[in-house]
Amino acid sequence: MSVTIRRNLPLVITFIAGLLAMGDYYFKVADFNKLVTDWMKFVNVASSFAVIIGYATLTRIHARKIMQRKPGWYNSLALIFAMYALLIWGVFLSGGKFTAESTYTYWFNNLYVPLDSTIFSMLAFYITSSAYRAFRVRSAEATVLLVSAVVVMFGRAPVGPAIWPSIGPITSWIMAVPNTAGMRGILIGVSLGVLSMGIRLLLGRERGYLGPGA
Protein backbone atom coordinates (compact mmCIF):
# COMPACT_ATOMS: atom_id res chain seq x y z
CA MET A 1 0.00 0.00 0.00
CA SER A 2 1.46 3.37 -1.00
CA VAL A 3 2.38 5.93 1.66
CA THR A 4 -0.30 8.34 0.39
CA ILE A 5 -3.06 5.76 0.72
CA ARG A 6 -1.77 4.60 4.11
CA ARG A 7 -1.79 8.19 5.31
CA ASN A 8 -5.10 9.28 3.83
CA LEU A 9 -7.29 6.17 4.09
CA PRO A 10 -7.85 6.48 7.87
CA LEU A 11 -8.72 10.15 7.38
CA VAL A 12 -11.29 9.36 4.66
CA ILE A 13 -12.84 6.61 6.82
CA THR A 14 -12.92 8.99 9.80
CA PHE A 15 -14.64 11.67 7.67
CA ILE A 16 -17.33 9.34 6.31
CA ALA A 17 -17.95 7.61 9.65
CA GLY A 18 -18.18 10.97 11.44
CA LEU A 19 -20.72 12.37 9.00
CA LEU A 20 -22.80 9.18 9.15
CA ALA A 21 -22.91 9.27 12.96
CA MET A 22 -23.82 12.98 13.03
CA GLY A 23 -26.50 12.57 10.39
CA ASP A 24 -28.00 9.64 12.27
CA TYR A 25 -28.32 11.76 15.42
CA TYR A 26 -30.04 14.72 13.80
CA PHE A 27 -32.15 13.22 11.01
CA LYS A 28 -34.76 10.50 11.10
CA VAL A 29 -34.80 8.89 7.66
CA ALA A 30 -35.62 5.19 7.91
CA ASP A 31 -33.23 3.84 5.25
CA PHE A 32 -30.37 6.11 6.30
CA ASN A 33 -30.82 5.29 10.00
CA LYS A 34 -30.83 1.57 9.18
CA LEU A 35 -27.63 1.97 7.17
CA VAL A 36 -25.94 3.69 10.12
CA THR A 37 -27.24 1.07 12.57
CA ASP A 38 -25.77 -1.69 10.38
CA TRP A 39 -22.53 0.28 10.08
CA MET A 40 -22.31 0.60 13.88
CA LYS A 41 -22.86 -3.17 14.23
CA PHE A 42 -20.00 -3.73 11.80
CA VAL A 43 -17.80 -1.32 13.81
CA ASN A 44 -18.65 -3.18 17.05
CA VAL A 45 -17.83 -6.56 15.51
CA ALA A 46 -14.62 -5.29 13.91
CA SER A 47 -13.44 -3.58 17.08
CA SER A 48 -14.15 -6.73 19.13
CA PHE A 49 -11.20 -8.34 17.37
CA ALA A 50 -8.98 -5.89 19.25
CA VAL A 51 -9.65 -8.00 22.37
CA ILE A 52 -7.68 -10.79 20.69
CA ILE A 53 -4.73 -8.41 20.28
CA GLY A 54 -5.03 -7.52 23.97
CA TYR A 55 -5.10 -11.20 24.96
CA ALA A 56 -2.11 -11.93 22.72
CA THR A 57 -0.08 -9.06 24.24
CA LEU A 58 -0.87 -10.11 27.79
CA THR A 59 -0.08 -13.74 27.04
CA ARG A 60 3.23 -12.87 25.35
CA ILE A 61 4.40 -10.57 28.15
CA HIS A 62 3.46 -12.90 30.99
CA ALA A 63 4.57 -16.12 29.26
CA ARG A 64 7.98 -14.53 28.77
CA LYS A 65 8.06 -13.56 32.46
CA ILE A 66 7.28 -17.14 33.47
CA MET A 67 9.84 -18.69 31.10
CA GLN A 68 12.59 -16.32 32.21
CA ARG A 69 11.61 -16.78 35.89
CA LYS A 70 11.55 -13.02 36.40
CA PRO A 71 10.68 -11.73 39.92
CA GLY A 72 6.98 -12.30 40.58
CA TRP A 73 6.65 -14.86 37.76
CA TYR A 74 4.12 -16.82 39.81
CA ASN A 75 1.74 -13.83 39.62
CA SER A 76 1.97 -14.03 35.85
CA LEU A 77 1.17 -17.74 36.03
CA ALA A 78 -1.91 -17.02 38.15
CA LEU A 79 -2.99 -14.34 35.68
CA ILE A 80 -2.66 -16.58 32.64
CA PHE A 81 -4.39 -19.47 34.42
CA ALA A 82 -7.33 -17.32 35.56
CA MET A 83 -7.63 -15.56 32.21
CA TYR A 84 -7.72 -18.70 30.09
CA ALA A 85 -9.68 -20.80 32.60
CA LEU A 86 -12.55 -18.32 32.58
CA LEU A 87 -12.28 -17.83 28.82
CA ILE A 88 -12.41 -21.56 28.07
CA TRP A 89 -15.16 -22.16 30.60
CA GLY A 90 -17.27 -19.23 29.43
CA VAL A 91 -16.92 -19.89 25.70
CA PHE A 92 -16.57 -23.67 25.31
CA LEU A 93 -17.81 -25.38 28.49
CA SER A 94 -20.79 -23.23 29.42
CA GLY A 95 -23.25 -25.06 27.17
CA GLY A 96 -24.15 -21.87 25.36
CA LYS A 97 -24.89 -19.94 28.55
CA PHE A 98 -21.57 -18.08 28.41
CA THR A 99 -21.23 -15.66 31.35
CA ALA A 100 -24.60 -16.75 32.79
CA GLU A 101 -23.32 -20.29 33.43
CA SER A 102 -23.33 -21.15 37.14
CA THR A 103 -19.66 -22.21 37.57
CA TYR A 104 -18.49 -19.16 35.65
CA THR A 105 -20.76 -16.92 37.73
CA TYR A 106 -19.55 -18.57 40.96
CA TRP A 107 -15.89 -17.85 40.23
CA PHE A 108 -16.63 -14.39 38.94
CA ASN A 109 -18.73 -13.43 41.97
CA ASN A 110 -16.46 -15.03 44.55
CA LEU A 111 -13.06 -14.23 43.13
CA TYR A 112 -13.28 -11.17 40.94
CA VAL A 113 -16.03 -9.14 42.65
CA PRO A 114 -14.39 -9.12 46.15
CA LEU A 115 -11.05 -8.11 44.60
CA ASP A 116 -12.79 -5.36 42.63
CA SER A 117 -14.51 -4.05 45.76
CA THR A 118 -11.22 -4.13 47.67
CA ILE A 119 -9.50 -1.94 45.12
CA PHE A 120 -12.47 0.44 45.07
CA SER A 121 -12.53 0.68 48.87
CA MET A 122 -8.91 1.86 48.89
CA LEU A 123 -10.23 5.13 47.49
CA ALA A 124 -11.46 6.14 50.94
CA PHE A 125 -7.88 6.18 52.28
CA TYR A 126 -6.48 7.84 49.19
CA ILE A 127 -9.12 10.59 49.35
CA THR A 128 -8.06 11.34 52.92
CA SER A 129 -4.36 11.57 52.13
CA SER A 130 -4.79 13.65 48.98
CA ALA A 131 -7.32 15.91 50.72
CA TYR A 132 -4.78 16.50 53.49
CA ARG A 133 -2.21 17.69 50.95
CA ALA A 134 -4.72 19.75 48.97
CA PHE A 135 -6.19 21.50 51.99
CA ARG A 136 -2.93 22.80 53.36
CA VAL A 137 -3.27 26.57 53.45
CA ARG A 138 -0.68 27.88 50.99
CA SER A 139 -2.61 30.59 49.15
CA ALA A 140 -5.89 32.50 49.13
CA GLU A 141 -7.40 29.94 46.74
CA ALA A 142 -6.33 27.03 48.96
CA THR A 143 -7.92 28.81 51.94
CA VAL A 144 -11.25 29.14 50.10
CA LEU A 145 -10.97 25.45 49.15
CA LEU A 146 -10.24 24.48 52.75
CA VAL A 147 -13.11 26.50 54.24
CA SER A 148 -15.70 25.33 51.69
CA ALA A 149 -14.52 21.71 51.96
CA VAL A 150 -14.76 21.74 55.76
CA VAL A 151 -18.26 23.26 55.59
CA VAL A 152 -19.41 20.68 53.01
CA MET A 153 -17.86 17.78 54.94
CA PHE A 154 -19.59 18.82 58.15
CA GLY A 155 -22.83 19.48 56.33
CA ARG A 156 -22.83 16.03 54.71
CA ALA A 157 -21.78 14.09 57.81
CA PRO A 158 -24.60 13.38 60.34
CA VAL A 159 -22.65 15.09 63.12
CA GLY A 160 -22.70 18.50 61.36
CA PRO A 161 -26.45 19.19 61.29
CA ALA A 162 -26.74 17.62 64.78
CA ILE A 163 -24.43 20.35 66.16
CA TRP A 164 -25.65 23.20 63.97
CA PRO A 165 -28.84 22.60 61.92
CA SER A 166 -28.20 25.60 59.61
CA ILE A 167 -25.09 23.95 58.12
CA GLY A 168 -27.29 21.66 55.99
CA PRO A 169 -28.78 24.47 53.83
CA ILE A 170 -25.36 26.19 53.60
CA THR A 171 -23.84 22.96 52.27
CA SER A 172 -26.67 22.56 49.78
CA TRP A 173 -26.16 26.15 48.57
CA ILE A 174 -22.40 25.62 48.08
CA MET A 175 -23.06 22.46 46.07
CA ALA A 176 -26.01 23.83 44.06
CA VAL A 177 -24.75 27.34 43.25
CA PRO A 178 -20.96 27.96 43.16
CA ASN A 179 -20.06 24.31 42.58
CA THR A 180 -22.67 23.73 39.85
CA ALA A 181 -21.82 27.05 38.16
CA GLY A 182 -18.14 26.12 38.04
CA MET A 183 -18.86 22.63 36.74
CA ARG A 184 -21.20 23.95 34.04
CA GLY A 185 -18.55 26.45 32.97
CA ILE A 186 -16.10 23.58 32.52
CA LEU A 187 -18.75 21.52 30.70
CA ILE A 188 -19.48 24.33 28.21
CA GLY A 189 -15.74 24.61 27.52
CA VAL A 190 -15.44 20.84 27.10
CA SER A 191 -18.43 20.69 24.74
CA LEU A 192 -16.97 23.40 22.53
CA GLY A 193 -13.57 21.71 22.73
CA VAL A 194 -15.10 18.41 21.60
CA LEU A 195 -16.85 20.17 18.71
CA SER A 196 -13.61 21.87 17.70
CA MET A 197 -11.77 18.56 17.91
CA GLY A 198 -14.54 16.87 15.90
CA ILE A 199 -14.15 19.42 13.11
CA ARG A 200 -10.36 18.96 13.13
CA LEU A 201 -10.77 15.17 13.03
CA LEU A 202 -13.33 15.26 10.20
CA LEU A 203 -11.10 17.54 8.17
CA GLY A 204 -8.04 15.39 8.87
CA ARG A 205 -6.22 18.23 10.63
CA GLU A 206 -6.04 16.49 14.03
CA ARG A 207 -3.66 13.61 13.34
CA GLY A 208 -1.92 13.18 16.67
CA TYR A 209 -3.78 9.90 17.24
CA LEU A 210 -2.15 8.54 14.07
CA GLY A 211 1.32 9.08 15.48
CA PRO A 212 4.02 11.75 15.24
CA GLY A 213 4.51 13.20 11.77
CA ALA A 214 1.27 11.64 10.44
Partner: protein, 266 residues
Amino acid sequence: MLPIPTAANQSAFIALVAISTIMLVTLYLSLKGIRKPTIRKIAGLDAIGEAVGRATEMGRPVHFTPGIAGLGTDTGPQTLAGLSVLAYVAELAAKYKTTLWTTIRIPQVQPLAAEIVRQAYIKAGVPDAYDEDKIIYLSDTQFAYASGVVGLMHREKVAANIMIGGFWAESLLFAEAGFLTGAIQVAGTAQTSQIPFFVAACDYCLIGEEILAAGAYLSKDPAQLGAIWGQDYAKAIAMVLIAVGVVLALAGDNTLWKLLSGPLWK
Protein backbone atom coordinates in the same frame (compact mmCIF):
# COMPACT_ATOMS: atom_id res chain seq x y z
CA MET B 1 -37.75 16.85 0.04
CA LEU B 2 -34.72 17.43 2.22
CA PRO B 3 -34.82 15.76 5.64
CA ILE B 4 -35.17 18.11 8.60
CA PRO B 5 -33.73 17.59 12.10
CA THR B 6 -36.02 15.95 14.63
CA ALA B 7 -38.07 18.37 16.76
CA ALA B 8 -35.96 17.94 19.90
CA ASN B 9 -32.71 18.51 18.01
CA GLN B 10 -33.58 21.51 15.85
CA SER B 11 -32.03 24.22 18.03
CA ALA B 12 -29.00 22.00 18.74
CA PHE B 13 -28.56 21.46 15.00
CA ILE B 14 -28.68 25.20 14.29
CA ALA B 15 -26.17 25.84 17.10
CA LEU B 16 -23.93 23.10 15.67
CA VAL B 17 -24.05 24.59 12.17
CA ALA B 18 -23.47 28.15 13.44
CA ILE B 19 -20.53 27.26 15.72
CA SER B 20 -19.01 24.91 13.15
CA THR B 21 -19.19 27.68 10.55
CA ILE B 22 -17.36 30.07 12.89
CA MET B 23 -14.69 27.45 13.56
CA LEU B 24 -14.29 26.65 9.87
CA VAL B 25 -13.88 30.36 9.05
CA THR B 26 -11.25 30.86 11.77
CA LEU B 27 -9.53 27.62 10.69
CA TYR B 28 -9.42 28.89 7.09
CA LEU B 29 -8.12 32.34 8.11
CA SER B 30 -5.40 30.76 10.20
CA LEU B 31 -4.47 28.18 7.56
CA LYS B 32 -4.10 30.86 4.89
CA GLY B 33 -2.01 33.00 7.24
CA ILE B 34 -4.51 35.89 7.12
CA ARG B 35 -4.56 35.87 10.91
CA LYS B 36 -2.12 34.03 13.15
CA PRO B 37 -3.86 33.01 16.37
CA THR B 38 -1.82 32.46 19.49
CA ILE B 39 -2.63 30.01 22.23
CA ARG B 40 -2.10 30.78 25.90
CA LYS B 41 0.50 28.82 27.79
CA ILE B 42 -0.72 25.56 29.26
CA ALA B 43 1.59 24.84 32.18
CA GLY B 44 0.66 21.15 32.32
CA LEU B 45 1.71 20.50 28.73
CA ASP B 46 4.91 22.51 29.15
CA ALA B 47 5.70 20.41 32.22
CA ILE B 48 5.70 17.14 30.26
CA GLY B 49 9.20 17.85 28.92
CA GLU B 50 10.36 18.60 32.46
CA ALA B 51 8.76 15.37 33.74
CA VAL B 52 10.37 13.15 31.10
CA GLY B 53 13.70 14.97 31.58
CA ARG B 54 13.57 14.37 35.31
CA ALA B 55 12.83 10.68 34.79
CA THR B 56 15.81 10.49 32.44
CA GLU B 57 18.12 12.08 35.01
CA MET B 58 16.93 9.67 37.66
CA GLY B 59 17.27 6.67 35.33
CA ARG B 60 13.71 5.65 36.05
CA PRO B 61 10.80 5.06 33.65
CA VAL B 62 7.87 7.19 32.58
CA HIS B 63 4.30 5.92 32.78
CA PHE B 64 1.55 7.09 30.45
CA THR B 65 -2.15 6.26 30.37
CA PRO B 66 -4.71 7.60 27.88
CA GLY B 67 -7.52 6.91 30.35
CA ILE B 68 -10.30 4.38 30.24
CA ALA B 69 -12.81 5.99 27.86
CA GLY B 70 -13.94 3.84 24.94
CA LEU B 71 -13.39 5.24 21.46
CA GLY B 72 -17.02 4.73 20.46
CA THR B 73 -18.49 6.73 23.33
CA ASP B 74 -19.12 10.44 23.87
CA THR B 75 -15.99 10.51 26.02
CA GLY B 76 -13.92 9.04 23.17
CA PRO B 77 -12.40 12.41 22.15
CA GLN B 78 -10.61 12.46 25.49
CA THR B 79 -8.86 9.22 24.59
CA LEU B 80 -7.86 10.66 21.20
CA ALA B 81 -6.54 13.76 22.99
CA GLY B 82 -4.56 11.45 25.28
CA LEU B 83 -3.11 9.65 22.27
CA SER B 84 -2.02 13.00 20.78
CA VAL B 85 -0.10 13.66 23.98
CA LEU B 86 1.27 10.11 23.92
CA ALA B 87 2.84 10.86 20.53
CA TYR B 88 4.69 13.80 22.12
CA VAL B 89 5.69 11.88 25.26
CA ALA B 90 6.93 8.90 23.22
CA GLU B 91 9.00 11.20 21.04
CA LEU B 92 10.62 12.74 24.13
CA ALA B 93 11.19 9.32 25.71
CA ALA B 94 12.77 8.02 22.49
CA LYS B 95 15.00 11.10 22.20
CA TYR B 96 16.17 10.85 25.83
CA LYS B 97 16.39 7.02 25.71
CA THR B 98 14.03 6.76 28.67
CA THR B 99 11.80 3.75 29.25
CA LEU B 100 8.14 4.54 28.58
CA TRP B 101 5.39 2.31 29.92
CA THR B 102 1.98 2.82 28.31
CA THR B 103 -0.90 1.05 30.00
CA ILE B 104 -4.15 0.44 28.13
CA ARG B 105 -7.63 -0.47 29.28
CA ILE B 106 -9.58 -0.32 26.01
CA PRO B 107 -8.52 -3.13 23.63
CA GLN B 108 -9.16 -0.96 20.53
CA VAL B 109 -6.67 1.61 21.82
CA GLN B 110 -3.84 -0.94 22.12
CA PRO B 111 -2.91 -1.10 18.39
CA LEU B 112 -3.28 2.70 18.06
CA ALA B 113 -1.00 3.35 21.02
CA ALA B 114 1.54 0.77 19.85
CA GLU B 115 1.70 2.34 16.40
CA ILE B 116 2.04 5.86 17.86
CA VAL B 117 4.94 4.82 20.08
CA ARG B 118 6.58 2.87 17.25
CA GLN B 119 6.33 5.88 14.92
CA ALA B 120 7.82 8.10 17.64
CA TYR B 121 10.86 5.83 17.99
CA ILE B 122 11.30 5.74 14.22
CA LYS B 123 11.03 9.54 14.04
CA ALA B 124 13.61 9.89 16.82
CA GLY B 125 15.97 7.66 14.83
CA VAL B 126 16.03 4.82 17.36
CA PRO B 127 13.61 2.20 15.97
CA ASP B 128 15.54 -0.61 17.67
CA ALA B 129 14.81 0.89 21.08
CA TYR B 130 11.07 0.36 20.56
CA ASP B 131 9.76 -2.38 22.83
CA GLU B 132 6.20 -3.52 22.05
CA ASP B 133 5.92 -5.15 25.48
CA LYS B 134 6.00 -1.70 27.09
CA ILE B 135 2.58 -0.86 25.59
CA ILE B 136 0.57 -3.15 27.72
CA TYR B 137 -3.12 -3.96 27.68
CA LEU B 138 -3.97 -4.82 31.28
CA SER B 139 -7.68 -5.48 31.49
CA ASP B 140 -10.98 -4.26 30.11
CA THR B 141 -12.38 -4.07 33.64
CA GLN B 142 -11.97 -0.80 35.50
CA PHE B 143 -10.46 -1.85 38.83
CA ALA B 144 -8.52 -4.79 37.42
CA TYR B 145 -6.89 -2.25 35.10
CA ALA B 146 -6.42 0.15 38.02
CA SER B 147 -4.69 -2.47 40.16
CA GLY B 148 -2.47 -3.41 37.21
CA VAL B 149 -1.42 0.22 36.75
CA VAL B 150 -0.81 0.77 40.46
CA GLY B 151 1.27 -2.43 40.66
CA LEU B 152 3.33 -1.46 37.62
CA MET B 153 3.98 2.03 38.99
CA HIS B 154 5.24 0.60 42.28
CA ARG B 155 7.32 -2.19 40.72
CA GLU B 156 8.94 0.01 38.10
CA LYS B 157 9.27 3.01 40.46
CA VAL B 158 8.14 5.43 37.78
CA ALA B 159 9.61 8.93 38.03
CA ALA B 160 7.01 10.59 35.81
CA ASN B 161 3.34 9.73 35.61
CA ILE B 162 1.36 11.29 32.77
CA MET B 163 -2.38 10.70 32.66
CA ILE B 164 -4.35 12.39 29.91
CA GLY B 165 -7.80 11.17 28.89
CA GLY B 166 -11.12 10.12 30.37
CA PHE B 167 -10.87 8.91 33.95
CA TRP B 168 -13.39 7.82 36.52
CA ALA B 169 -12.97 6.40 40.05
CA GLU B 170 -9.49 5.05 39.30
CA SER B 171 -8.06 8.56 38.87
CA LEU B 172 -7.13 8.97 42.52
CA LEU B 173 -5.72 5.44 42.75
CA PHE B 174 -3.28 6.33 39.96
CA ALA B 175 -2.46 9.75 41.34
CA GLU B 176 -1.76 8.45 44.85
CA ALA B 177 0.34 5.58 43.50
CA GLY B 178 2.36 8.16 41.57
CA PHE B 179 2.72 10.28 44.70
CA LEU B 180 3.96 7.28 46.69
CA THR B 181 6.62 6.49 44.09
CA GLY B 182 7.73 10.13 44.15
CA ALA B 183 6.78 10.71 40.51
CA ILE B 184 6.22 14.12 39.00
CA GLN B 185 2.61 13.94 37.86
CA VAL B 186 0.86 15.59 34.94
CA ALA B 187 -2.83 14.75 34.65
CA GLY B 188 -5.74 15.97 32.59
CA THR B 189 -9.34 14.99 32.07
CA ALA B 190 -12.63 16.47 30.96
CA GLN B 191 -14.56 14.41 33.53
CA THR B 192 -15.74 17.12 35.92
CA SER B 193 -16.15 14.64 38.79
CA GLN B 194 -12.48 13.63 38.59
CA ILE B 195 -10.84 17.03 38.04
CA PRO B 196 -10.81 17.81 41.81
CA PHE B 197 -8.89 14.58 42.50
CA PHE B 198 -6.25 15.42 39.92
CA VAL B 199 -6.00 19.01 41.17
CA ALA B 200 -5.52 17.75 44.72
CA ALA B 201 -3.06 14.96 44.01
CA CYS B 202 -1.00 15.93 40.95
CA ASP B 203 1.73 18.48 40.28
CA TYR B 204 0.09 19.77 37.09
CA CYS B 205 -3.49 19.42 35.99
CA LEU B 206 -5.09 20.07 32.62
CA ILE B 207 -8.69 21.07 33.17
CA GLY B 208 -11.47 20.14 30.76
CA GLU B 209 -10.99 21.62 27.31
CA GLU B 210 -7.23 22.01 27.82
CA ILE B 211 -6.69 18.33 27.07
CA LEU B 212 -8.69 18.67 23.86
CA ALA B 213 -6.45 21.54 22.78
CA ALA B 214 -3.30 19.52 23.52
CA GLY B 215 -2.87 18.33 19.93
CA ALA B 216 -3.02 21.91 18.63
CA TYR B 217 -0.78 23.22 21.41
CA LEU B 218 1.93 20.65 20.85
CA SER B 219 1.84 20.61 17.04
CA LYS B 220 1.42 24.41 16.57
CA ASP B 221 -0.43 23.50 13.35
CA PRO B 222 -2.11 26.74 12.09
CA ALA B 223 -5.30 24.91 11.10
CA GLN B 224 -5.67 23.35 14.53
CA LEU B 225 -4.91 26.66 16.23
CA GLY B 226 -7.53 28.28 13.99
CA ALA B 227 -10.22 25.87 15.20
CA ILE B 228 -9.22 26.61 18.82
CA TRP B 229 -9.50 30.33 18.03
CA GLY B 230 -13.06 29.72 16.80
CA GLN B 231 -13.86 28.21 20.20
CA ASP B 232 -13.30 31.63 21.79
CA TYR B 233 -16.06 33.17 19.64
CA ALA B 234 -18.35 30.28 20.53
CA LYS B 235 -17.61 30.88 24.22
CA ALA B 236 -18.42 34.56 23.79
CA ILE B 237 -21.80 33.61 22.25
CA ALA B 238 -22.44 31.20 25.16
CA MET B 239 -21.64 33.96 27.67
CA VAL B 240 -24.00 36.42 25.95
CA LEU B 241 -26.76 33.79 25.87
CA ILE B 242 -26.25 33.06 29.58
CA ALA B 243 -26.39 36.78 30.47
CA VAL B 244 -29.48 37.41 28.32
CA GLY B 245 -31.10 34.23 29.66
CA VAL B 246 -30.54 35.28 33.26
CA VAL B 247 -32.04 38.74 32.64
CA LEU B 248 -35.06 37.31 30.79
CA ALA B 249 -35.60 34.61 33.42
CA LEU B 250 -35.53 37.25 36.17
CA ALA B 251 -38.13 39.21 34.18
CA GLY B 252 -40.30 36.07 33.97
CA ASP B 253 -39.81 35.67 30.21
CA ASN B 254 -38.95 32.15 29.00
CA THR B 255 -38.65 32.93 25.25
CA LEU B 256 -34.94 32.16 25.09
CA TRP B 257 -35.37 28.93 27.02
CA LYS B 258 -38.09 27.85 24.54
CA LEU B 259 -35.89 28.79 21.59
CA LEU B 260 -32.93 26.81 22.89
CA SER B 261 -34.90 23.72 23.90
CA GLY B 262 -36.93 23.58 20.64
CA PRO B 263 -38.83 22.61 18.58
CA LEU B 264 -38.38 25.62 16.32
CA TRP B 265 -40.63 24.47 13.50
CA LYS B 266 -43.00 21.63 12.67
